[in-house]
């Protein structure tokens, strides 16, 4: 599969990455090479094989339903580039 620049532009939008127009074709070529290489997986027979979701079987464990953490809004906000009171601040999102 060869990725064209329109596909790369669409994927970049989904991934929330700003890619300048001048870099699209180079990136398309890099990504096409990688996708072309991973496509060899299509030759593996996987009929009836379950997709792996958990490599090491671990038993899920229950915990007491109690509050054991939290109430640290100052800590949570400590690394914010901008905050106000107990809130992160962002650019206006509602017109």
């Amino acid at each position: 599969m060869t990725l064209d620049t329109n596909t790369v532009r669409r994927i970049a939008r989904l991934a929330r990455l700003h890619i300048p127009e001048s870099e699209l074709s180079h990136l398309a070529s890099d990504l096409s090479n990688i996708i072309g290489w991973v496509e060899q997986l299509a030759e593996v027979k996987t009929d009836g094989v379950e997709p792996m979701t958990n490599v090491i079987e671990t038993e899920s464990h229950y915990r007491e339903d109690v509050i054991n953490d939290g109430g640290d809004s100052a800590k949570v906000l400590q690394n914010a580039s901008d905050s106000s009171g107990n809130f992160f601040t962002v650019i206006k999102v509602i017109e």
Binding site: A15, L41, T46, P51, V55, N79
Partner: protein, 502 residues
């Protein structure tokens, strides 16, 4: 004493612990010697952040405990380096990325917390490939780290070599005697490959053996923390303190942590060691084939039985890894939005702010992997790529499960080559990915695996051997590695003129 500084740096953790207990010197002496070495070797760029004040304060506390006979563990007072992927409270934690610019966690990762609870001393945070994505430590925002080893002959003479990656700074720091041990993380080979390139021991435990809580996530179904040390015994000592169940990581294993050091008894009589035919590459250099053959001979001499085995899906491990790991990364790295921590680049609206922040904050390799991951998870491609890769992962794991009926562990080379020059393989991502061809299959199956320095090649560079075991058999893997270490008599170090063996 004039001579103490060099000697202190050349100890193993085990030796340092014994000397501290006997009062030969203090943790403050040991820590000070390493802090000075770190300053002297800043040219290697193995540390992103040095923590001299914290280190000396922790060493002082350790000395107080020891003077009262209250030593906590064999790591009490031992100065260690921590990969900059572990969140450390009050200390810059970057993952080698600009997007975590200025990020100072308000919490401590479980693994590093365990080490401090055992009395260890934090020297600093080590350089790494950005978000652990790389095999040469050349994708770090903080510049490449340099391998302390130099070629003594051949085309690489006079060139700076890569330390491997992604835990390049951690491996280089231990090899250059800037720390007695370090932590790494391994997603597809990021502990073992740099350990092989730097001539040190690197252990990737079973997935779930160490908690992932507080480790900046790359690919959550693969990421695992482990020790990098100068001896197998030291890896056993460090793992014993790092490992353990953590309620804050639902994938951490609720199993007791055995005494790994006690399993190093040198006895591998009757153990069956598998040699997988699929790891014999047509393009494999003679020096790699030779070290592998020597490893087989050492294990036979020690009483093990070496048998040929087959892992038929080996060639598909790397391509399936390069679907699954980027898919998980694209999801994990969605959290970097410029709002809650790290870099923010203001845009015209919120989406523009996200896009500009992420464009400025992530480097090229991370962007490539986010793009690949987003693509293989996108509508219309999910089944063909991601779901197929997950099925192939099942096949790879089934291959291992079948061979465990025939053998107790597997021996392979760690890497298909020795360290290469900085700048090589930069234009071809797939050539870089092939560094991990021998380490990725065990990662895909979640298995414990270790790299042990085994030989010096004719250019004067270290080569590692790789032992893989069934899930939660770290004791056996360490025991076999210990036998290899004893037989290999690997005494070369990068700070001295190297005597070439053979």
């Amino acid at each position: 004493m004039m001579t103490s500084k060099i000697n202190l740096q050349y100890l193993t953790i085990k030796e340092a612990n014994r000397a501290l207990n006997e009062g030969d010197y203090t943790s403050q002496d040991l820590t000070q010697a390493h802090l000075e070495a770190m300053v002297a070797e800043r040219g290697l760029n193995s540390f992103v952040t040095e923590c001299p004040d914290r280190a000396l304060a922790m060493a002082e506390e350790s000395d107080k405990r020891r003077s009262k006979g209250e030593q906590i563990s064999p790591l009490d007072g031992i100065p260690l380096a921590i990969k900059d992927l572990f969140c450390t409270e009050g200390i810059l934690s970057t993952a080698g990325s600009r997007i975590l610019d200025g990020f100072t966690p308000t919490y401590e990762s479980t693994v590093s917390h365990n080490l401090w609870s055992a009395g260890a001393v934090l020297l600093g945070k080590t350089n790494m490939d950005e978000f652990a994505m790389g095999s040469a430590n050349v994708t770090s925002y903080y510049g490449n780290c340099i391998n302390p080893w130099k070629a003594s002959s051949g085309n690489l003479v006079g060139k700076d070599l890569v330390p491997g990656g992604s835990s390049g700074g951690s491996a280089a720091a231990v090899a250059a005697r800037l720390a007695l041990g370090s932590t790494g993380t391994d997603t597809g080979g990021s502990i073992r490959q740099p350990s092989s390139f730097c001539g040190v021991v690197g252990l990737k435990p079973t997935y779930g053996r160490c908690s992932r809580w507080g480790i900046i996530a790359f690919a959550s179904s693969l990421d695992q923390a482990g020790p990098i040390t100068r001896s197998v015994g030291d890896a056993a000592l460090m793992l014993a303190e790092m490992a353990g169940f953590d309620p804050k990581d639902s994938t951490s294993a609720n199993l007791p942590v055995p005494s790994y050091i006690e399993s190093l008894n040198g006895n591998i009589k009757g153990l069956r060691i598998g040699i997988p035919s699929e790891y014999k590459l047509d393009s494999m250099p003679d020096e790699i084939e030779d070290v592998w053959q020597r490893g087989r001979d050492w294990l036979i001499d020690a009483g093990a039985e070496v048998i040929d085995i087959s892992l038929p899906h080996t060639k598909y491990a790397l391509p399936s890894y390069y679907i699954i790991a980027p898919a998980e990364a694209s999801s994990n790295l969605a959290r970097y939005d410029g709002i809650r921590y790290g870099l923010r680049v203001e845009g015209e609206d919120l989406i523009d702010t996200y896009e500009k922040t992420r464009a400025a904050g992530f480097g090229d390799e991370v962007k490539r992997r986010i793009m690949i991951g987003t693509y293989v998870l996108s509508a219309g491609y999910y089944d063909a790529y991601y779901r197929q890769a997950q099925k192939v992962r099942t096949q790879i794991t089934n291959d291992f499960n079948s061979v465990w009926k025939e053998c107790d562990a597997i021996l392979t080379p760690t890497t298909p080559s020795a360290a290469f020059a900085i700048g090589e393989k930069m234009e071809d991502p797939i050539a870089m990915y092939l560094n991990d061809i021998f380490t990725v299959p065990a990662s895909m199956a979640g298995l414990p695996a270790i790299s042990v320095p085994a030989a010096i090649n004719k250019e004067g560079l270290p080569l590692g051997l790789h032992v893989i075991g069934p899930a939660f058999t770290e004791q056996t893997v360490l025991r076999i590695a210990d036998v290899i270490e004893t037989a290999a008599e690997f005494t070369a170090n990068p700070n001295e003129n190297i005597t070439i063996a053979g």
